[in-house]
């Protein structure tokens, strides 16, 4: 009985320590963003790695997502011959839910994992200590650019992804379901509202914050050599994915 309680206590303390570290690191990152000029080269490098290098995969994922949405809703639409609702059905689901969630998960797997692995390797090879020894604060130098690159690029790529998903949906409806593309676009314009787009974009910002916070935290606090880096990457991807679904639920509940 005592050992069970001790085990629960240890896990609780470890969880509290992790949450505390993450909160402190996030607050420090925000504080440094406002009080210290980030390194321009490092900021551009982060934007390039996070944004430009993710662009092709986001475009492919989004095109296919739009296509899948149309194929799935196409069966129901054909059953009721409600072809005028095809664009709305696919667009509504993509803009509000599937687009931000899929791009968020893709981002956490590609960008978040990469960020954690890079910071973790820098930690275990003493590169972060070397920065401090050279009188350079690693938080504004390494973490601030990554944080804001991930958040801003998550937002922009979700915007691009939404557009690509709608393009994918339009092409699929025309060539696979023989629904005229003009009817698909009319349905989008007639039934979708700006709030549908904003709903997804607001989610994307929160997802970006979650991915950046989690990946920075696990990377920056890596310990235990190469095994530790693997563990940190694993935790980062799992925590980011869980955070995305929790945030999606909360935001979906409160936003109209």
């Amino acid at each position: 009985m005592t050992s069970v309680l001790a085990n629960i206590g240890r896990r609780w303390l470890s969880l509290s320590e992790g949450v505390g570290q993450m909160t402190l690191l996030t607050l420090t990152t925000w504080w440094k963003f406002w009080t210290t000029a980030p390194d321009r080269i490092e900021f551009m490098r982060s934007l390039y790695k996070v944004g430009v290098q993710s662009f092709p995969i986001v475009v492919v994922t989004a095109l296919l997502t739009g296509a899948i949405m149309v194929i799935q809703s196409g069966q129901l639409v054909a059953q009721y011959e409600a072809y005028g609702l095809l664009g709305w059905g696919a667009g509504y689901a993509t803009l509000r839910e599937v687009g931000p969630i899929l791009i968020g998960l893709m981002f956490s797997g590609r960008v978040g994992a990469n960020n954690t692995a890079e910071l973790g390797t820098m930690r275990i090879t003493e590169q972060i200590d070397a920065l401090r020894a050279l009188a350079i604060d690693p938080i504004p130098y390494l973490l601030v650019p990554r944080f804001f690159a991930i958040v801003s690029m998550m937002f922009l790529l979700t915007l691009v992804g939404n557009l690509m998903a709608l393009v994918g949906g339009t092409i699929t409806s025309q060539f696979l379901l023989q629904v005229d593309w003009r009817l698909f676009v009319w349905s989008l314009r007639e039934y979708l509202h700006l709030s549908d787009l904003f709903n997804g974009l607001i989610k994307s910002v929160f997802f970006g914050i979650a991915i950046a916070t989690v990946s920075n935290h696990f990377g920056y606090h890596t310990s235990g050599g190469a095994v530790g880096v693997g563990r940190a990457v694993n935790s980062s991807v799992v925590f980011s994915a869980v955070s995305i679904f929790v945030l999606d639920f909360v935001i979906g509940y409160f936003l109209p």
Binding site: E126, D129, L134
Partner: protein, 243 residues
């Protein structure tokens, strides 16, 4: 210049440093000796303000590191160069960017002056054509020389060398010792050098500290070490063992 006073540090249940006190006067070179796990690298990290002791105090240039805020610490670190045992080169930067990095961050020199300084340092460490290479394209010895160049790039008054000759061939090793000696003869640099190459160290250091299991065994000059009859000192200084 650098003073350790009653330093204690615990890892888990074990004291990895236990009551270590000694001083390194300005302009002198101290050789820090001891078997692996004696706490040598930890002491250097404490002197650079990278690790805090659990008990005791570290003073550098008359300032107690425990009482410095982040900005004051950064200002103090501008006076310190550090060569890390595992290189710690930034792997996303080329060799020239690694060496130029502390100079660019300091912001005192123009780009032309930085380029000239990098050229001269790379010639000094015998890597005159390594500018555009990345650390992963270099051998261990070459990395060590680049990290040496980065540590001294700012010409800091204090330099910590954590095993600068580990894994190097004898020729490169003696070249590094020559550079360390040159630093001693021609500048007012204060340094602490960790190495297992006792012979190389004997010629360039003014005094030595021997640590074992986190405790200070002996602090003294070369003569003190040569005269000591303590078994641990004899073994380390003469490179002998019981068997």
């Amino acid at each position: 210049m650098i003073r350790f006073e009653g330093i204690r540090k615990r890892h888990g249940a074990e004291w990895v440093l236990d009551g270590v006190s000694f001083e390194v006067p300005a302009g002198s070179q101290l050789g820090l000796l001891g078997p692996g796990g004696a706490g040598k690298s930890l002491l250097l990290k404490m002197a650079a303000g990278l690790v805090r002791p659990d008990e005791g105090s570290v003073s550098v240039m008359g300032r107690d590191l425990a009482h410095l805020n982040e900005v004051e610490m950064a200002e103090l670190r501008l006076n310190i160069g550090m060569l890390f045992q595992n290189y710690a080169l930034f792997d996303f930067m080329t060799v020239e960017e690694n060496i130029a990095f502390p100079l660019r961050q300091e912001g005192r020199l123009s780009e032309a002056e930085i380029a000239a300084r990098v050229d001269s340092l790379l010639k000094e460490v015998d890597l005159p054509r390594a500018h555009k290479s990345y650390p992963n394209q270099l051998s261990g010895g070459m990395k060590k020389r680049v990290t040496f160049a980065r540590a001294v790039a700012r010409k800091p008054p204090i330099v910590f060398f954590d095993d600068p000759t580990a894994g190097l061939d004898p020729v490169t090793s003696s070249k590094i010792f020559r550079m360390l000696n040159h630093g001693r003869m021609h500048t007012e640099t204060t340094s602490i050098i960790i190495t297992h190459d006792i012979l190389g160290l004997q010629g360039i250091c003014d005094h030595f500290v021997l640590l074992d299991h986190g405790k200070l065994v002996l602090h003294g000059t070369r003569e003190d070490f040569e005269r000591s009859e303590r078994r641990m000192v004899r073994q380390f200084w003469d490179g002998t063992s019981d068997e």
